[in-house]
């Protein structure tokens, strides 16, 4: 008994236990395997079960998978976007600035809301000036992919008048209250010569890792991602959002 002699269902079942990349490699093996490796019965298994109906007009499932990797889809009234991690099919979320809780965010003396073509969201938050800097993003762990190690990133940049972010800010990624979590210190705008954990992103944005969280079953309640620094005078930060994606 040889591999190609198994039924199509059996072969599809085996391929669906591998990864999207492996399925693509199987597709190049022979015509027989290509039709099975490209089939919906395989790619449905790579898609998260709650994502299948997000964009029903994209077919077949393999194309839907590819689309969701490269084109974040707005959910939650367009303030949150969802995409898939290409290698694993695990879900990535970006909580747009409008979805975050920003202390004094409603007060135009401190924060402004501007539209910019460089953001996938309608508005981003621009800091005029503030001492009390406290931003919180929340997401239900039930929305995240299970068995996945996530990292949270602040997606941001500066406009011309930045000040105060060369000092560390306290960051938390935890379940429940920030007060009970040790957290870490991150510096959004390190001075020359200082260690730099900031990474460049597309469209002129930057990101910095805020912390990690292992989502086992999605039943831990609400994940809280926050940044806080209430002593230094700060200006010039522009926040696109907080992004959660799997880390390896």
């Amino acid at each position: 008994m040889a591999f190609p002699e198994l039924s199509e269902d059996e072969i599809a079942q085996i391929i669906s236990l591998t990864t999207p990349q492996d399925a693509c490699n199987m597709s190049a093996v022979s015509r027989h395997f290509k039709s099975i490796a490209d089939s919906d019965s395989v790619w449905t298994k790579f898609l998260p079960s709650d994502c299948e109906n997000l964009i029903p007009h994209i077919s077949p499932k393999k194309s839907l998978y590819r689309h969701l990797c490269d084109h974040p889809v707005p959910i939650n009234g367009r303030n949150v976007s969802l995409s898939l991690d290409k290698k694993s099919g695990q879900k990535c979320f970006t909580l747009g600035a409008r979805d975050l809780t920003i202390a004094w965010g409603d007060n135009q003396n401190y924060w402004e809301w501007i539209a910019t073509p460089e953001s996938r969201f309608n508005e981003v938050a621009q800091l005029r000036s503030v001492w009390w800097f406290h931003i919180i993003g929340r997401i239900e762990t039930s929305m995240l992919s299970s068995g996945t190690n996530y990292a949270a990133y602040l997606v941001y940049r500066f406009n011309g008048h930045r000040q105060g972010f060369d000092r560390p800010v306290k960051s938390h990624v935890c379940i429940g209250s920030e007060e009970l979590d040790e957290g870490r210190s991150v510096t959004l705008d390190p001075r020359e010569g200082e260690p730099r954990a900031v990474r460049e992103r597309a469209h002129g944005w930057m990101e910095i890792e805020m912390g990690e969280f292992y989502n086992e079953n999605g039943d831990d309640g609400t994940l809280v991602c926050s940044l806080r620094e209430v002593v230094e005078y700060k200006r010039g930060l522009v926040v696109e959002g907080i992004e959660l994606r799997p880390m390896y």
Binding site: M1, F3, P4, T18, P20, M26, S27, S30, R31, F33
Partner: protein, 164 residues
């Protein structure tokens, strides 16, 4: 010091002997399997209910060589008191066989509807595929490709997005 007999750990007491089911392979060999083990197979479960009154159940799709191993697998998985780790180790040994045999197990597991065996064997093959290039997959499974080099190049280009 009183000596009392150790408590019986047998799954059945003498008044209820374990029911044995007889199976016949495609090449005429007969095997006996305990009912509890046979119930691992949905196919056998249905056939037992239909009352076979002791005549061996014919399994035309499974040879004696494979049926012997399937009986062994089901019996092991029906054994009481085996811890997860030992069972996993036993399973790993069970599928440590040549490729063609693993595929025979898959066919048998499918025909007999044994989810545990099907899952185990499909994962074995999935492990063999993971991380291999198309060429390595062909060589490993001895698959002949009828793709022309141009067709194969086209497929690779189509799938390039997955590797970026």
């Amino acid at each position: 010091m009183s000596s009392s007999p150790p408590p019986s750990s047998a799954a059945a007491s003498p008044s209820c002997p374990k029911k044995m089911i007889a199976l016949r392979s495609s090449d005429g060999e007969t095997f006996e399997i305990e009912e509890a083990a046979a119930l691992q197979s949905k196919t056998l479960e249905n056939m037992i209910d239909e009352d076979c009154a002791g005549t061996p159940i014919p399994l035309p799709n499974v040879t004696g060589k494979i049926l012997a191993k399937v009986v062994e697998f089901c019996s092991k998985h029906a054994e009481p008191g085996v811890d997860d780790e030992s069972l996993r180790a036993w399973d790993a040994e069970f599928v440590n066989v040549e490729q063609a045999t693993v595929f025979d197990y898959i066919l048998a597991a499918n025909f007999l509807e044994i989810p545990t065996l099907l899952n185990l064997t499909c994962n074995v093959v999935a492990d063999m595929i993971r991380g291999k290039t198309p060429d390595e997959i062909r060589k490993f499974f001895n698959i002949k490709s009828i793709f022309s080099p141009e067709e194969e190049e086209e497929v690779r280009r189509e799938n390039h997005w997955a590797f970026e």
